[in-house]
Amino acid sequence: NAGVTQTPKFRILKIGQSMTLQCAQDMNHNYMYWYRQDPGMGLKLIYYSVGAGITDKGEVPNGYNVSRSTTEDFPLRLELAAPSQTSVYFCASTRQGSNQPQHFGDGTRLSIL
């Protein structure tokens, strides 16, 4: 009964370092999403995927990359970490079809110093 699993839960990076935030879902959902939430703000869409091999940009994609090689996994890559990328990152998934809510992971809290 895992749902959407995100790893790691916390991470501190130095400016210029790179890392991959992992997201996996076991619900056989074809749609997956990455959001970031800055303090006092709503969630903003970074990238999304409608199925394996298909990804598209959201509202704030700059500085990030994604890939979707399997239905289950949707990793988010930061190539050159910048202080502006300090945020909480949430991954979500949903089944194709109207009126299906997105299911969220518990987030990755990332600090870049």
Binding site: M41, G42, L43, L45, V50, N99, G107
Partner: protein, 115 residues
């Protein structure tokens, strides 16, 4: 330009009373609206939703009302319980092509239910 606005950052309500959380939107292309509840250190969890063709949806203690002409929706919680204390996000859905939808979130309202 915020398309989904939750103008009250916080709300305090006595246990047993009604909590009313408000949300305004500007984009007429939104066709579906959702409320999510979020506890600290957890991800948002889906609470209740409403289609743009309806004006009310009820699920137990939670009711969402939609006034399409005013571009306004509200979440009513009756009676409020201490466990309802959380941040509530309003989200609106728009079709983004190729069979996919995108959600736009408000900034959230922190509800505190006082025992």
């Amino acid at each position: 330009d915020q398309q989904v606005k939750q103008n009250s950052p916080s709300l305090s309500v006595q246990e047993g009373r009604i909590s009313i959380l408000n949300c305004d939107y500007t984009n007429s292309m939104f066709d579906y609206f959702l409320w999510y509840k979020k506890y600290p250190a957890e991800g948002p969890t889906f609470l209740i939703s409403i289609s743009s063709i309806k004006d009310k949806n009820e699920d137990g203690r939670f009711t969402v009302f939609l006034n399409k002409s005013a571009k306004h929706l509200s979440l009513h919680i009756v009676p409020s319980q201490p466990g309802d204390s959380a941040v509530y996000f309003c989200a609106a859905r728009e079709y983004s092509g190729a069979g996919s939808y995108q959600l736009t979130f408000g900034k959230g309202t922190k509800l505190s239910v006082i025992p």
